[in-house]
Amino acid sequence: MEGSRRDFLKLAGLSALGLGAAPVLASASKAAAQTFGDDAKALKGTHWAMVVDVSKCQDDCQDCIAACHEGHNVPTLPPEKKRNEIKWIWHEEFENAFPEQPIAYLPEKLKGKPFEVLCNHCDNPPCVRVCPTKATFKREEDGIVLMDFHRCIGCRFCMAACPYGSRSFNWFDPRLYLAKTNSAFPTRAKGVVEKCNFCSEQLAIGNLPLCVRACKNEALVFGDLNDPNSAVRKILRERATIRRKPELGTGPNVFYVI
């Protein structure tokens, strides 16, 4: 039979290809058809920011802190472990929050007054730049500086890089110091760094951040900086605001009305 050798080789080659491809195709057809979607109510922004109106803030009130800590399973350490405390949103006096003293002669009413400070979700976050595992990253679509706790190796470069002290390291298993836990958000494990996440988990289900909702005086306002009609832009149009350490070029997105 003329050409049979050639035909045989062609056939053999095709068969080998088929045999090789079969398991690949089989696994591809077995693999799940993966499509992902958002909650219909999810709040979508392009540049989330917060305004803290200190004049509306009551000195003895801890509602925003309590709501955040409860919602995110942030432990309360005993006083002797204060230096290892976990901070998401906390109180700081003016001269510590703004050490460059933008106001030379502080009015009496601001002396000793607690300022709410939290992660500034910087435009140019130094913590993101130093993270060796990309555990902390800036979310492209809305500018939130987020943490992937799974990836954090606990090197604490980010804590050294952050000029606002917004990051805390878990020296202990936080569950030891949690009076109660909320299953809607995970706890952390010993050995990871954590910080405020601008309530990305709340935005995903259509809620404003927990601290904003907890404030009875509406001292905390959250919104999209790129939307000229947003609540934050409305305040920024009317009131002069300051930011923490703007001279460092980090581009903080938390604004303070004094």
């Binding site: 693999a31 799940a32 992902f36 979607g37 999810a42 299953s183 809607a184 952390r188």
Partner: protein
């Protein structure tokens, strides 16, 4: 040619001891079988997020994808090959049908001697407590 003297008995005994010690695990476990994993399956649900075969072999890849999507990109819902929609959450979705970690996850993981650290952070009990 001079013969090299050697202690046949000592070497033989040494080899025997070595052989016994080397094969000790086999002697130790002789006649014993490890109990099968037998995870407790839900009775009121027939199907998982994907087919049982897929979940058996690839649940870790699926959960890895869920983690990456939720934590890094934002979507919270997963639509499976049957078009059903699930919230991507260990505590809210997986525990719905498999409420007891010890009766489900741990059975196979202990059998296979793998110890993932999902539950170091994620909570095994729903709600506030």
């Amino acid at each position: 040619m001079r013969m090299v003297p050697y202690d046949k008995e000592k070497i033989g005994a040494g080899l025997l001891i070595f052989f016994v010690i080397f094969t000790l695990p086999f002697w130790y476990n002789r006649g014993r079988a490890v109990a099968p994993a037998n995870p407790v399956l839900p009775t009121d649900y027939k199907t998982c997020v994907e087919s049982t075969d897929y979940m058996k072999t690839s649940h870790m890849q699926l959960l890895n994808t869920w983690r990456t999507e939720v934590v890094r990109y934002g979507p919270r819902y997963y639509t499976n090959s049957q078009g059903q929609r699930y919230k991507m959450s260990l505590t809210d979705t997986c525990l719905d049908c498999h409420p007891k970690k010890a009766d489900f996850c741990d059975r196979c993981h202990n059998y296979a001697a793998v110890f993932p650290y999902c539950w170091d952070c994620h909570l095994t009990e729903k709600g506030t407590r």
